[in-house]
Structure formats: structure tokens, C-alpha cells
């Protein structure tokens, strides 16, 4: 497909135009100066020179806390139903996620695969299918980034709807899907075809960005070593001592999909079933009714987290459960550091 150029001075007018037809979720500055993904009220909210956000935009498809359905009526206390029943509150808008980083978008691709396995999660896909993703590739890796090793950045080759590369005064625009093509076609007056020189400049920019990575790990070799059980138990024990069971690594992870289902009684004859993010580092995550817990020891839970991301998920989907965004490193109170653990495994 043909590549395009969007001048930076045209970016805000484009966003303004898009915002008339879509809900735009983009990096905005929170009150404390933090860059977070949120729906914009004006195109001027959008921040495009940000280091990666604290959390990935996963929650716009898989919210931290959501009502799956609610019930109302006498039947839920005793007698058989008479009309009343279950209500599903799920509503969606047409959305654009603007400025999502390749690692986070790779997380979305991962969830696309996972949530379609055997049964489709309609809550996720209702939102997902209504969304268009405009990626912003990364010219500068951040402190804990290792997407290059994970194969999820700093730029993607496919999978996206639209991907932007920062060429100083302009964005190099690549189209990766029909949805993306249609969008560009509809707003074609904002774009012009990329020249041969610009194409070359884009390639150079990507190469340069890739060269800047300090952190490099070999996911396949690590997985092999783990599969062969060549990792000393003492490593997991050391991590377990550091882990403070906050669940943060799962909450900030672009690929973590676990949730718990809970019921809340909201009235005499009414209530709702909700789902809330969960984490495999909690002991209640596997404890069964009656008290038996197959992963009672924290060491086993921490170990499993790494096995799941680095070994089992590649076995299941051919995709790593880690996109190399480094968020779990930033959020960990015990300084557990994914690339460092991988280096440790390779020792």
C-alpha cells in the first residue's frame, strides 16, 4: 500500500475533524503532569512527545471494573420469573486510539487472539471492533524498554490500522488495514503521498531507533532454558522474597487478561455480576473452595507468572506474553525487573 505524509501542523486539525465522528482516546496530560490515555475534549489536549504512558490503553477494551449484567425481579429471590430479568449494560462508541505505541498495540493483538480462543469475549470485541488504532512509533526507547527483543517495536511492520513515524516536521504515515485505508481516503486532503526520499528517511529513522536500545534479550533462548528446567529454583525464591503481592505487574501489563467475577447485591431483589482485573500473583487466584491451593507458595506463583508469559503463551499462540514495554519494571515495589530476570536465566 502507498505511504503518506502528514505535516505536524496538520495533525491537530486532523484530530479535530476526526473528533466530530469518533471518540478520540489519546495521550493527555493529567493534573500531576503524568501522561495518560483518556478521551480528549479538545485536540489541544493531545500530547504527542510523551514517554510511554503509565498504563496501556487496555482498559478501554477491558475495564478494570465493569458490570457484565444486572438482574432485577422477584424471581431472583424465590418464585419463577414473570418478565423481569437480566440486563446487559454494554454500549460502545466508534473510537480512535490516537498515538498508541507499538508495544501497547501488540498487547491488543495479543488480546485479540486470546479473547477469541474457543469462545469470543463479546464485551472485549464489541469495543475492539469499533476502534481504529493510529500508532505512533518510537524514535527514542525509554529506560526500561525492550520491545526490540520482544519483536513488538519500536515500529511495527503489520497489524496496525495506521502507523506514524516522526520525521521531525512531519509524520510518515503507513496504512496497515482496510479500516486505515478508508480513513485516509476519507480525509485525504490532510495527506500527500510520501516521496522516495521520505520513504528512505523513514527506513533510516526506524534503523536509528533500533540501534538506540540498550536492553537486549533473547526471548527464544530464555524460553528454551525454562522449558528444559535449567533455571535454579533459588532464582524464583529470590523473586518471591521481593514480590510484595500488589498485583501491579498484571494491572499495568498490556497482555494480562485475567479477571475475577463477583456478584454485588444492590437491592432487595436486584444485583449485578461484575468483573474486575485479577492477578496470578494472588494466593486467592488459585485457592479452591475448601482451602486447597495448588500454588500456595509465593515462589510458585511468581515462577508461574514468568513461565506463563515466556513459555506457555508462546506455546499456545506463538506470541510472547511480554511486549517489552517495561511497565512492570517501573511499577514493581520490589524491583523485579523482567529483562534482568531474563538475563539471570541466561547465566
Amino acid at each position: 500500500m502507498r505511504d503518506w505524509i502528514l505535516y505536524k501542523e496538520h495533525t491537530f486539525p486532523l484530530i479535530r475533524r476526526l473528533n466530530k465522528h469518533f471518540e478520540i482516546i489519546a495521550p493527555v496530560e493529567g493534573k500531576g503532569g503524568d501522561i495518560v490515555f483518556d478521551p480528549i475534549t479538545s485536540e489541544h489536549d493531545v500530547v504527542l512527545d510523551f514517554t510511554n504512558t503509565i498504563m496501556p490503553p487496555k482498559r478501554f477494551f477491558f475495564p478494570q471494573f465493569e458490570t457484565l449484567f444486572s438482574w432485577k425481579g422477584k424471581e431472583f429471590t424465590l418464585a419463577p420469573p414473570r418478565g423481569a430479568g437480566l440486563t446487559v449494560p454494554l454500549k460502545t462508541k466508534r473510537r480512535i486510539i490516537f498515538g498508541i505505541r507499538p508495544c501497547d498495540f501488540s498487547g491488543i493483538l495479543f488480546l485479540d487472539g486470546y479473547y477469541a480462543l474457543a469462545y469470543e469475549d463479546n464485551y472485549y470485541f464489541t469495543r475492539r471492533n469499533n476502534t481504529l488504532f493510529i500508532l505512533l512509533g518510537c524514535n527514542e526507547p525509554q529506560e526500561h524498554c525492550f520491545c526490540l527483543s520482544a519483536g513488538t517495536g519500536p515500529f511495527l511492520k503489520r497489524g496496525f490500522d495506521i502507523q506514524l513515524t516522526d520525521l521531525k516536521d512531519r509524520y510518515y504515515v503507513q496504512i496497515g488495514s482496510r479500516k486505515g485505508k478508508e480513513l485516509i481516503e476519507r480525509y485525504d486532503y490532510f495527506f500527500r503521498p510520501a516521496s522516495r526520499e521520505e520513504k528512505e528517511e523513514n527506513i533510516q529513522t526506524v534503523r536509528e531507533a533500533e540501534r538506540k536500545f540498550k536492553e537486549e534479550v533473547d526471548f527464544d533462548l530464555v524460553a528454551k532454558k525454562m522449558e528444559n528446567e535449567e533455571v535454579p529454583e533459588s532464582l524464583w525464591q529470590e523473586l518471591a522474597v521481593r514480590c510484595q503481592n500488589c498485583g501491579g505487574c498484571s494491572y499495568v501489563c498490556p497482555t494480562c487478561f485475567c479477571f475475577n467475577l463477583i456478584d454485588r447485591v444492590t437491592g432487595k431483589e436486584e444485583g449485578k455480576r461484575m468483573r474486575t482485573w485479577d492477578s496470578c500473583t494472588f494466593s486467592g487466584y488459585t485457592r479452591m473452595a475448601g482451602g486447597y491451593n495448588p500454588r500456595e507458595e509465593k515462589k510458585d506463583r511468581v515462577k508461574r507468572r514468568f513461565y506463563h508469559k515466556l513459555v506457555y503463551e508462546p506455546q499456545q499462540f506463538g506470541m510472547h506474553g511480554c511486549v517489552g514495554c517495561g511497565r512492570c519494571v517501573t511499577t514493581c515495589l520490589g524491583n523485579i525487573n523482567m529483562p534482568r530476570v531474563m538475563h539471570e536465566i541466561m547465566k
Binding site: 471494573f65 501491579g248 517501573t330 524491583n335
Partner: protein, 676 residues
């Protein structure tokens, strides 16, 4: 969806977080990465804070007890009844027959207003709050030694220390951010010494773990000082220039030889010597302590002893060096600062000090009582004298020691009003229940353990007819004939700044631009204070108080052969009214337990996870036994969160004579196996 920056309502660390709001519903959390404390992380409670906020169990309307049951009523009806009852009690029995408990969960502005209401409208100084139960011994002890009862340093300074001594604090669980800073310091090469009868997570990172028998803290601290003096590691130059009363201390220390200390505490003398050497030789030594030090009948003595230790080694009053009590509640520091105490107005201005009183009388335009009021435990213990109580956001029916007595006392009151967000054990005993707002539903400020005053921002409207607590106080005050007219909490803070020197420069516009200001902040230009006592102590010279070792009040006997010590878990907060309504937190620890040593369990034939009966002179509970080696033999631990197996049915209500803090950390119990 939108994200609103606010301050966490759980512990004293004071993390900055964004609440994710959709419509009028909080559906998630994002930690602030720019915030100096949260730095992109939260503990499990913070991460799940959205779950309790709009829980269906929230109180939505005022309730009045009629014929034994609660009836939903209008705010007007509730206020009229309260005003009438309080006026009648005041007229008949005098203002000192009324008592008020403020709340370390509520904002500074709310605590200030409640203090004003108590003193100016009810006309009594009978106001106190849960700081009495956690750090009153710190306030008294450090006021004596240094002149100011707060953390001398800031949380982030801990990372730069080269020696950290943690006494009686399960820091990674109770102050997760501070625990994380300790880990960082250790990674950078700092030596960590943990003093605790339990093997906490921090012990894994410690160079030394001293395990004293509960209640013997003065002995090991004196022992360390004895060793330091003997080895010539004291900073006598500092002692001479910046302290007073050293000779008396020196005399007192003479008998605390390592051998003598070992006999009392069980700490091997070699370990004590080594710990003393490491601490004294450090260049930047941070001493951290918490409830394990304060909640004793000798709580003030313990704090004074630690202060002595820092003075002797000059480990105070410098960057990365000092004595740091970790305050538990999100705003327990603030509630103290605001004068929710029987003897202080805001900013620790004494009610007994006539010029101070005159200042507040002028500002509040009313004559103020001058005698010191009663403390929490005294109010409850003197229920005969106290006829009516107003309790805002506290749950003494589960959190006081010996709650059987507390519940009886609360029941015997003529009139009890409880303002809370859930129908707590205490609220169930009330005549009138007022629905307050959670931290997500109001504006205000909290003051964290490092004296950082930061904004709390309204994210959603209060549930049902609930109101912000400051509005409730204002409305009630008006009904009682003393209108409190404030447009917003910001206006309240302006009054606080005017009347409170240490908050003199704290205004909302300044808090907007930064992540808060650390007091003392004397004026609008003052940048706030990172660490205290630079150059000189708040009181001038550091004061040594010689302390003798006194055993705990209730020692093990033949019939009650174990020492029970109580505390908290990571997943739960205090009486569990919030955390037990959060599915993720509750699932981790759905019920209480008693932690005991394997040797003891084997002797009694108790297996892991078996139910046992625990009996003290005051009550008994049935609870699951967790058997292991994380606690020393002879001592057992029970978290106090669980009403079904309430540790405080067992605890001893004996008080520290100076600070009136109860001895939660030591009482004698017996453990019985339940025959199946």
C-alpha cells in the same frame, strides 16, 4: 471517562493516584508516575481502591434508631434530633459530658472544623482520635526530646541512607512505599537491621535480625547505647553542643550490659553489640519505627529511648539521617496537626496556653474551655461522666482494646451519633447515623507521614444522599446556633493557614502546582521542610531522658502462658469496613488467624490451619492457627481486622501513663486445641 488526580486514602505514605471515572462511577485506578511517593506504583490496596467507594453497603441516608431498628430519615430530622439532644445534655450535665472522636480518615479541613465545633459549639476539649491508639507516645516522646512529634525525614531520603534500623514496623506490608525505599537502599549497599519478634519480609534483606520478646524494647535500646558509649562510638561533640541532660542518661545506662539485656530481651549479646556498632558507625543512619514501639504501656519510654539513641550518635537533624515514626492512617498526621486532640489546637498550640487560647477565641469569636479534655480510652472508660458522643469515621467497637467493655460503654451512653460511610460495628450502636462521603466524593487535603500536605479531589458525587463530612459539620453547627459558613474546603484551609504557624504558607493554589508541601511551611514563600531539626531542635536543645526498663503490664503466667501481640495485614485496613468489601482484598484473607511457632504448636498438638480457642482474662475467640517459624516461641500474633475473631476481645486496656496509649502489643493469652 476521565481521570482525576487525588491522594490515596489508605496508609500514611500518601501515594498520588488518578481515579478513573465514567459517568458518576469510579471504575479504576492509575498510579501517578510523577508523584514523588507513588512513582508509578501502588500497593494492592491502592490498586483496588475503587472497589469499596460505591459498594452497595454504603450508607445513603441518615438513620435514626427507633424501637430498636434503624429508620431512614431526612437530614433535617437527623440534625434537629442531634441538636436538641446535645443541647439538652450540655445544659443538664455540662459541656464536659460530651465527647467527640475525630477521624484520621477524614480531611484536614474536616478535622479542623470538628475541633472548632467541639470547642466552640459544644464547649469542651473532649476531642481525640485514633492517633491516641497508634502514635500518641510518639507525640509525647518526641515533643519532650526534640520538640516536634513527626518523621524527621522524608520518605525518599531513606534511599540514600547507609544504615537503616527498623524497629517494630512491618514496613513492606504496612508502608509499602517506604518498604520499597528500604529495598532500594539495601540494593545500593545500605546495612539493614530489623528488630522484631516476627520474621517479616524485610528480614530477608537484613544484615541482622534482633528478635526481642515483646515489651522489652527499653532494654535493648539502652543496651545499644551502653555498647556505643563503651566502644567510644558516641558523638560527644554533638552531645555537648546540641543536647542536655546527658550525665543522667549515662548513669542510667551503666547497668544495661549486653549480658543483662540478653536475659531480658532474649537478643544474643553478640548480635546486640554488632547492631550497636553498625548503627553508630554509619554516616547516614535512618531509624524507622512504628506500632511495635509505641503500643505499649511503656510506649513513651520506648520512643524516648530511641530519641536518646539518635541524640547520642548524632543521627538526627541531617539529610538522610534521623528518627522516623511511620504514621499509619492516610491523615493521622493531619488530624493531629489540626488539633483533633484534647490538649492542642491546630499546629500543636496548647489549649492550656492563655495567649494561644485567646488567639483562637478571637478568631472563633467565642469563649473557649481551658481545661484539657479526655482521651479516647478515657472517654469510653468514663462513660458514666460522658453522656453523649459524636464519632466521625472511627470504629472503636472493634478497634479499642477490650472491646467487650467498649461496647458496653457505648451502649450506656444517653446519645450516640456516628458519622461514617458504612454501618460499622460502632454505627450499629448509634442513636443517629449520618452518611459521610468517601475520599473520592469530596475536596480537601491529607497530610502524609512525611508531613506532606496534599490535595484530595472530588471525583464523583456522594452516593445517595450522603454529604461531604465538612458539610455535615457545618450544617449541624448551624442547627446548634453557631453558623460555620464556608464555601469550600479551600476557604477552611485559608483559616487554618492564618491560625496555624506550621501551616502558615499552605494554600490550595500552591498545592495545585506541586504534589503538596511539607510542613513546617511558615509563609507563602516558604518552600516547606524536607527534614527537621537542622542546626537546632524545635525545642532548642535535644533532651536526654534516662529511662529504666519496666516489664509489660500483663506477663505470661501459668494459666496464660503466651504473649499475644496484635497488628495488621497487608490486604486489610483496620476494622475492614473498606477492605473486606473489596473482593480482591477480601479473597486474599477472608478470615483471621493466629500465627504461632511450630514448637509451641507441636507441644499443644495443634496442626497448621486447625481451629483453636484463644483466651485472655478479658475474652475468648475461635480462630484458625497458622503454624510456622516466622514468630518466636512463646509469642503469638493475631491481626485485628476481623470481627468474627476480634483480637481486641483479648487485648489489655492498660494505658501508658503519659500518652494514654493502650498496650496492644502485649497481653497474656492461653491457647486451647478444639477437640474434634
Amino acid at each position: 471517562m476521565k481521570k482525576i488526580l487525588t491522594t490515596c486514602t489508605y496508609c500514611g505514605c500518601g501515594c498520588g493516584l488518578y481515579l478513573q471515572v465514567e459517568g458518576n462511577e469510579v471504575i479504576g485506578v492509575t498510579p501517578s508516575r510523577e508523584h514523588p511517593i507513588s512513582r508509578g506504583s501502588l500497593c494492592v490496596k491502592g490498586w483496588n481502591i475503587h472497589e469499596f467507594i460505591q459498594h452497595p453497603d454504603r450508607l445513603r441516608t441518615p438513620l435514626i434508631k427507633k424501637k430498636g431498628g434503624f429508620e431512614e430519615v431526612s437530614w433535617d430530622e437527623a440534625f434537629n434530633l442531634i441538636a436538641e439532644k446535645f443541647k439538652r445534655i450540655k445544659k443538664r450535665f455540662g459541656p464536659d459530658s460530651l465527647g467527640v472522636l475525630a477521624s484520621a480518615k477524614c480531611t484536614n479541613e474536616e478535622n479542623y472544623l470538628l475541633s472548632k465545633f467541639t470547642r466552640a459549639v459544644l464547649g469542651t476539649n473532649n476531642i481525640d482520635h485514633c492517633a491516641r491508639l497508634c502514635h500518641s507516645s510518639t507525640v509525647v516522646g518526641l515533643a519532650t526530646a526534640f520538640g516536634s512529634g513527626a518523621m524527621t525525614n522524608s520518605i525518599n531520603e531513606i534511599e540514600e541512607a547507609d544504615c537503616i534500623l527498623v524497629a517494630g514496623s512491618n514496613t513492606t506490608l504496612q508502608h509499602p512505599q517506604i518498604g520499597s525505599r528500604i529495598l532500594n537502599a539495601v540494593e545500593k549497599g545500605a546495612s539493614l537491621i530489623v528488630v522484631d519478634p516476627r520474621t517479616t519480609q524485610l528480614v530477608s534483606f537484613a544484615l541482622l535480625h534482633l528478635k526481642p520478646r515483646p515489651g522489652t524494647d527499653v532494654a535493648w535500646i539502652n543496651g545499644m547505647m551502653h555498647v556505643i558509649l563503651k566502644k567510644g562510638l558516641a558523638n560527644l561533640d554533638f552531645v555537648k553542643k546540641r543536647t542536655e541532660n546527658f550525665p543522667a542518661l549515662k548513669r542510667k545506662l551503666a547497668k544495661f550490659t549486653p549480658q543483662y539485656v540478653e536475659r531480658i530481651t532474649g537478643i544474643p549479646k553478640e548480635d546486640l553489640k554488632e547492631a550497636a556498632g553498625i548503627y553508630a558507625r554509619a554516616k547516614r543512619a535512618i531509624l524507622i519505627y512504628s506500632m511495635g514501639i509505641t503500643q505499649h504501656v511503656t510506649g513513651t519510654d520506648n520512643v524516648l529511648s530511641l530519641a536518646n539513641l539518635t541524640l547520642l550518635t548524632s543521627h538526627v537533624g541531617r539529610p538522610y539521617t534521623g528518627l522516623n515514626p511511620l504514621r499509619g492512617q492516610n491523615n493521622v498526621q493531619g488530624a493531629c496537626d489540626m488539633g483533633a486532640l484534647p490538649d492542642f489546637y491546630s499546629g500543636y498550640q496548647k489549649v492550656s496556653n492563655a495567649p494561644c487560647r485567646r488567639k483562637f477565641e478571637r478568631a472563633w469569636n467565642v469563649k473557649l474551655p481551658q481545661n484539657k479534655g479526655l482521651t479516647i480510652i478515657e472517654m469510653v472508660r468514663e462513660a458514666g461522666r460522658i453522656k453523649g458522643m459524636y464519632i466521625m469515621g472511627e470504629n472503636p467497637a472493634l478497634s479499642d482494646p477490650d472491646i467487650t467493655h467498649t461496647v458496653e460503654a457505648l451502649k450506656s451512653l444517653d446519645f450516640l451519633v456516628v458519622q461514617d460511610i458504612f454501618l460499622t460495628e460502632t454505627a450499629q450502636l448509634a442513636d443517629v447515623v449520618l452518611p459521610g462521603a468517601s475520599f473520592a466524593e469530596k475536596d480537601g487535603s491529607f497530610t502524609s507521614t512525611e508531613r506532606r500536605v496534599q490535595r484530595v479531589r472530588k471525583s464523583i458525587n456522594p452516593v445517595g444522599e450522603a454529604k461531604a463530612d465538612w458539610e455535615i459539620i457545618c450544617d449541624l453547627s448551624k442547627k446548634m446556633g453557631y453558623p460555620l459558613n464556608y464555601e469550600s474546603p479551600e476557604e477552611v484551609m485559608e483559616e487554618i493557614a492564618l491560625l496555624t504557624p506550621i501551616y502558615g504558607g499552605i494554600y490550595y493554589d500552591r498545592l495545585e502546582k506541586t504534589f503538596g508541601l511539607q510542613w513546617p511551611c511558615w509563609n507563602k514563600k516558604h518552600p516547606g521542610t524536607t527534614f527537621l531539626h537542622r542546626g537546632s531542635f524545635s525545642r532548642g536543645k535535644g533532651h536526654f531522658t534516662p529511662i529504666d526498663y519496666k516489664p509489660a503490664k500483663e506477663l505470661p503466667s501459668k494459666k496464660y502462658s503466651f504473649i499475644l501481640t496484635t497488628g495488621r495485614l497487608y490486604y486489610h485496613w483496620h476494622t475492614g469496613s473498606m477492605t473486606r468489601r473489596s473482593s480482591t482484598l477480601h479473597r486474599e484473607y477472608p478470615e483471621g488467624f493466629i500465627e504461632m511457632n511450630l514448637q509451641d504448636a507441636q507441644r499443644l498438638g495443634i496442626k497448621n490451619k486447625e481451629m483453636v480457642r484463644v483466651i485472655s482474662r478479658r475474652g475468648k475467640i475461635t480462630i484458625q492457627a497458622l503454624v510456622g517459624e516466622l514468630i518466636i516461641p512463646g509469642t503469638v500474633f493475631i491481626p485485628f481486622h476481623f470481627k468474627e475473631a476480634a483480637a481486641n476481645l483479648l487485648t489489655n486496656p492498660v494505658l501508658d501513663p503519659k500518652a494514654k496509649i493502650p498496650e496492644y502489643k502485649v497481653c497474656a493469652v492461653r491457647i486451647e486445641r478444639i477437640e474434634r
